[in-house]
Structure formats: C-alpha cells, structure tokens
Amino acid sequence: MLVAPLGIAWFAAVALVLLDGRRARVGWFAVAALGATLAATVVLAVQVLQDGTVRSVAGGWPAGVGITLRADALGVVFAVVSTGVLLAALVYEVIGGVQSPTFPALVLFMATGLTGVFLTGDAFNFYVFFEIAMISAYVLTGYGQETRQIRAATIFTVVNLLGSVLFLIGIASLYHVTGRLDMLGIALRSDDVGTQPIILIAVIIFVAFGVKLGLFPFHFWLPAVYTSTRPSVAAILSGALANIGSYGLLRFGADVLPRELEQGAPALLLLGTVSIVYGALQALSRNAASEVLAYSTVGQVGYILIALGVGGQIGYASAVLFAVVNALNKTLLFLSVELRGRLVWLAFVIGAFSVAGVPPAVGFFGKAALFRAGIAERSVILVALIFVGGALSFVYMFQTEQRRFWAGDADDPSPLARRGLVLLLAGLVVALGIWPEPLLALSEQAAAVLPERRP
C-alpha cells in the first residue's frame, strides 16, 4: 500500500508522455489517474493514522543499507494536500482546454515527485524525488509559451537550481559528517557529532528550503514568477510545490536536526517576523491581484517559520495546520483570480477571509493555532505580530477585492465548470472552518511524529 500512490502517478505520467495532452480524452485520463493517486494516498493516510508509521526498505535490504520508504502522519498529511491541489489545478486546465501537449504528463510527474518526497525516509532519495518535482515545475512555469512566461520560467529555473545545489551540498555534508543517508540514522548519529559542523549544514539546508518557500531574504524570485505564470501553474507552485519547503523545514529541522533547530530558533523568529511585515506591506502597495497574492505568499510563509521557531508540539502542530490552510487558500485564490462572475466573487471573498483569519473560513484556525503558540511562548510581541499581520492581510485582501470586483465585469462570466470548481474549493475552506476537528486532530497527530523539544 505504501508505494501504491507513487506507482499509479508514475506509470500514468510515463503513459501520458506519448499522448497529446491537448485532447480532452487524454486530459480526463490524467484527471482519473491523479484522482486514483489521491484515493490511494487517502487510503494510505487512513491506514497510517490508525496503525502508525508504515516502513519498507527497497529491495528487502536491512534498514540502514537500502533506501527506506516511510509513511508517517506528517508525510501523508502533506501528500494528501499536495495531490489534492494538483488535482484541482489539473481539472481547472482540462475544463478550459489544455494548451500544451505535455501539461498533463508534467502534472503527474510532479505528483510522483511530491508523493515520493513526502513518503521517503532517506535523505538522498528525498533529493531525487525533489528534483523530479522541481524539473516538472521548471517546464510547467513556461506553460503558455508567451514571452513573459518563458522569462518567468528562466528566473524560476536559475534561482531554484541554485537552491537545489545548496540542498545537495547540505545532504552530502550530512553524509560526510554522520556517515548515514537515512534520516533516522542521521538523527541518531548527529547527536554524537559536535555542534560546530552540523549547525553550518543546518543553515545551508535552511537556506535551500527558504529559497523554495520564498522566505524574506530569498523571496526575490517569487513575485516575478507568480505574476507571469498562468493561474493554474501559480496555484500548483504555491499550493503544492511550496509544501516541499514547509515539509522540508519540519522534517529536516524538527525531526532530523532538532538540536540545531532549537539553536536557530531566534533567527527563525526574526526572519519570520520580517517576512510577515515585509510581505504584508509590499502586498498593500501593489495593484495587480496576482502581485498582491505573490507578496501575500511571502508574508504567509513567515507564520510557518514563527511556528517552527516556537517549537514543541504546539508550535509544530500549528506549523502543519498553517501550511495546509495556506496551501488551500492560495490554490483557491490563484485559481479564482482570472475568472469573472458573481460566484467567483463569493469564492474570492471566502479565500480573502481565510487569508485574513476570519471565521467561518478555515484560516481562522490557522491563526488561532498560532495565537496559542504565541501565548505558550509567553511572548507579547508574537501575539501582537500575529494580530497585526492578520489585520494587514485583511486590508490588502479587501483592497484587491474592491479593485478586482467592484468595478463590475464588462465581459461575460467564465465557463460554469471553472466557476463551479473554485466554488467547490471555497466550500471546502468553509466546511473545514465550520467543522475543524478532523483537521486539528490531523495536525496534532502529524506533530506528534516529531520529537518533543528538549528542555
């Protein structure tokens, strides 16, 4: 069961390479395959949440020798969310007619890469799947084939190749210092190694994931890319691919190198704060809706960093919850940004409420979890920051809503199926906000996988 999602996505991706993705039938085949992947991931998730972590070593080798595949609560949560986001973006494109023959195959290759990243227990294997996902993203960013999209793809590729190289250097150094590549082994051995070399490696890995996430000092590529790509691709990048960054920080920070995460906590809190304030102020000063959303992304990932800096079960649980909520919000908003009509307005407003953290949208619980973390940390500054950040995002989201919808739409509304899709996503955001217990329990269970912070 562990490798079923991986296998379905991978075989379907290979089959789709030979087919012309512009034909509707091929597009719906891709949707069916991705749906099957999502179903298999959900089945795996249920199994993991009930019976605990599932492990398997490739080739029947002893653990520590072969490549470990491992599904735990943290991994499956991210796998389900990312595959779901990819499915939404793929359906959005297939409804409107895919323009490139390779688009469906690339989305399935990215599903393969992401599922692999979240289900592997081996640091180098993590890198391999990470590259599969990244390479599909490089090509996907150019989807549309206009000059601005090619330019965006070039920026994205160059910056993220640098990030990937940094990550590879980090993995190689970890192997050099600990002699292991499986995450469990690295975590055990790194305790025996002095702090000096490992803190440097931890910084390298942090920078690598920071580039992927678009954290404050490494965000420079993000607005240029998000504003130029197609909405579906922007949704894929911010809702699915960015999960690698938040998952990677949680996995490599809290799970593999907890001691270094604790030492780096003040820096994380500082960077998170700057990210939130900077992202919100930039978003306030922008006009184009996609640009506002891009800077809002810079701000929102700051919250994940803050939650990580707070640490402990409360901090990790709120980081997971916030990452999931953020992925849903960004998918909803990016997909609805170019559509027209009253229904789209409704979906956009729900997304805006969710970003600002206003009930009944699910974003409220993301912010509430952060409040709890801030109070647990006994920090007035953190609580104030989260409040101010939320207020600022409320202002910029509704500024955008005014500019985008109050002028009235001159053109006819978009196709009903697309509007229905974003409305469905908006319904999900509200439903999870009204009935949040499963999501809250899920994030706590995911955080319980990570070791408790040492006193």
Binding site: V3, G7, W10, F11, V14, V17, L18, S56, V57, A58, G59, G60, I67, L69
Partner: protein, 145 residues
Amino acid sequence: MTTILTQTIARLLLPPTFMVAVAVMVKGYADTGDGFSAGVIAGLGVLLQYVAFGYRVAERLITIRTAARSLVAGLTLALLVSFVPLLRGDPILTHAPAPNAHVIHLGSLELITAVLFDVGVFLIVFGFAVGAIGMVARAIDRSAP
C-alpha cells in the same frame, strides 16, 4: 568543417561504439560499468555522426521521435522491474533470483532482473542523450541561413 576523413572515421566508429556500450553494460555486474555509462557511450557514437554529417544526414540514422520512444520504453521497463515485485508481496525493487539462488549464465552475462533494470537505464540515458543532441542540432540547422 568536416572532410571525407572525419566522415569515414565517424561511420567506421559507430558499430564498435555500440559494441563497447553493450560490453560495458554486460560486464557491469563483475567489473566496472553499468547501464548509465553504456548509454553515454552509445549516445556519444551518435553525437559523432551529428558532428561529422550535420543534422539532416544524421537524423536518418535515428530520429528525435525514436529517441523519445527509447526513453519512454526504458522508463517503463525500469519502473516495471521496480514495481512488479510488489505483486508477489516483496518490497519494491526486490530482484530475482534471490541471493545465493542459482543464476543462469550466458557467457559472462548473468540472467538477473537487475540486468533488465540496467537495460532500462541504458535506454533512458541513450534516448535522452540522442534526443537532446538532436534537438540542439535541429535548432542550429533551422537558424542557419
């Protein structure tokens, strides 16, 4: 600028290149070599044809489309070798025959599923190398006056 000399040598070298590639792959289990290096060697043989003859002639040898098919076939083969053991309840990538079991030898070639996986790797690397070289050559050919 290519001359009759480079063209003759390029053509003469093509069969031995493929032979060396196959030898490197077959020897891989007892000696240095594997499907990846074999794919690179075979790809270089084709690259030589592009350098000596140009895109239009060399494309007759193997088209970009064939190269892409080789890549897909290789990926499918490697994936099948990885995933089929699951049907028997073994972990992914379990190879047959099991360690210490009897292996059929054909000369220095051992009939094990790992070889099949390496054939897949060979096809991927060869297909990618030829496809990439062909696309660059095509772009140069089209931009030439």
